[in-house]
Amino acid sequence: MAQALPSAGPPAQLHRQREDDRLILAFAGDWKGDQPLPSLAELGAALGAAPREVVLRDAGLLGWDSRLLVFVLRIRDLCAAQGIACRDEELPQGVQRLLALATAVPERPGSRQDEGRPSLLHELGEGALLWGRKSIDNLVFFGEVFFSLTRLLRGRARFRASDLLLHLQEAGIAALPIVTLISLLVGVILAFVGAVQLRLFGAEIYIANAVALGMARDMGAMMTGILMAGRTGAAYAAQLGSMQVNEEIDALRTFGVAPVDFLVLPRLIALVLMVPLLTVYADLMGILGGALVGVGLFDLPLTQYYQQTASAVPLIHFATGLIKALAYGAIVAVAGCLRGMQCGRSAAAVGEATTAAVVSAIVWIIVANAVLTVIFHILGI
């Protein structure tokens, strides 16, 4: 390829020659690669002298590529603007044919997109309309999921049991290592934060209370929820999004299988079952992390730590955490599937869907946490 290599031939040349009322433009030299071309500005001046016609001539072209074509098209435009005839019969055959090809299909009117900047009000309106449309789409999806769940309860939802098992495994056992690591560390962090303050009163034993309460009521469920949003919710959005790109979801529809039944239900069930289970596990791991700090660094006896923990956290606290976990599981599954199903038909759209899934899931998790915490407070549990 000539473009990639430095060109060594004689430079591109354009000789002007006046014959009566004709202007002859003779092309010579090497018109390949990215070497500098003669300037068009001088030519514009020469055309100002009003010749009747311009003749383009091959006077020893050594090589040419698309840049010559662009150059000739430019000359044609200049000529056309001044009503001068432009003849290219004396250019190489290939150039003539490509020029004919390039001008064969006229530009379709209206195909060029409007480049004007819309006003602020216009954009605001567009934004509001878009938001409205999206909200309706979301509601439609929630409705579909609701009907799908009622079909599930009547035993008439259609999906494959093997899919469900796969998702259960994917969102359950496969998530254990990362949940272990994160919740153990969260327990350690909680213990440290508490210990620094409690030590001032010589009340290190209350580390156990702080860690157990924190993990059981909130942190266990929340960390699991956020982990699953990043891990599984994103995967769901990407899976369904690329299925949308491949028209696989349309294929399900045309076979009369409700995509929500077939794709969303198994994922929703898997997460609603698995996130609470993972949360129980995360709670225990967090408490273990706290115990490591309490026993290892603050010299609390293990049995005392255990008894303190057991007395600090009655089972009802675990129950509130589990209810939250249930909600988070549903949120992660619905956010992932919703964004996946709404995905556009391109690779970029899959990326956007994945991002949106994780962001929505985390936002909704925090909001749900706030709402549930207030409700539990009012109920006095």
Binding site: A2, G63, R67, R74, A347, A348
Partner: protein
């Protein structure tokens, strides 16, 4: 785009090429030459390894055995840099266009120009418009691939393949998914581009109309014997080839034995 003075020299030469995915051999012992400025058709039934052969020819996949020569240079024995230079000299039209979906058509075509030439932005813009006009898509530069039809995507893919003025063009199933009229137009476009650019064209297809309309040379791959069983001008093959399976393929004959 210079017109080469030695038409006898092969543009691409393949020696004892074996294509394989791991242990699974797709084709073996392929030997053929692609003459300069020919329109070379790689034919064969579905699943015989046509597209895999194409992927090997353009350097996307390393052969399990054998050599590929571009001119006199052995492709896989070259330094990475030289190999990349050869690959840049290849224009490739992928089966479904393979346009980058996050870029507009104009940006798709401009990307190789921006990367591999020292042209100014204004010049690149002109070149992009020219390429779009060549494939009949003048004015569509601001569209994203998702916003245009499949046939237009294919033509836009061709415009991108032409971006660096390649001297060899590869087409993977150019007419797949196009209506007969669009397919015929694409064939004409290929012919026209070959005539005016003097480029070598390699086409993978099993579209008979296309094969006879544009092919000047070709090979026929067989899935059973895992090697090429015929080579030459497709029309000649249809009328004179001794392999019944090749003749059946080229005459669209489903029944065995009727020869």
């Amino acid at each position: 785009m210079e017109h080469h003075t030695t038409p006898s020299a092969a543009h691409l030469r393949v020696e004892n090429l074996t294509l394989a995915y791991g242990d699974l051999v797709i084709q073996k012992d392929l030997c053929f030459e692609i003459p300069r400025a020919s329109i070379f058709i790689i034919m064969g039934g579905s699943g015989c390894g046509k597209s895999t052969l194409l992927r090997h020819l353009v350097g996307l996949q390393r052969p399990a055995a054998g050599r590929i020569y571009y001119g006199e240079r052995c492709f896989w024995a070259l330094e990475d840099k030289e190999r990349e230079a050869i690959m840049r000299g290849c224009g490739i039209l992928y089966q479904s266009g393979a346009l980058w979906s996050s870029l507009t058509l104009a940006e798709n075509i401009a990307l190789p120009l921006r990367e591999y030439t020292r042209l100014r932005a204004a010049e690149i813009k002109d070149l992009v418009e020219l390429k779009l006009a060549l494939v009949g898509l003048a004015g569509f530069g601001d569209f994203y691939p998702a916003q245009i039809s499949g046939g237009m995507r294919k033509r836009a893919g061709l415009a991108r393949a032409l971006a660096l003025d390649p001297d060899i063009l590869f087409f993977d199933e150019p007419s797949a998914g196009l209506d007969p009229v669009s397919a015929a137009r694409l064939d004409e476009l290929i012919l026209e581009l070959r005539e005016s650019l003097g480029a070598t064209v390699v086409v993978v297809t099993h579209e008979l109309a296309s094969i006879f309309a544009i092919g000047t040379d070709g090979i026929f791959l067989d899935a059973e014997s895992k090697t090429l069983i015929a080579r030459g001008n497709p029309r000649t093959l249809r009328d004179e080839c001794r392999e019944p399976s090749v003749r059946r393929f080229l005459t669209r004959d489903a029944k065995e034995g009727r020869t």
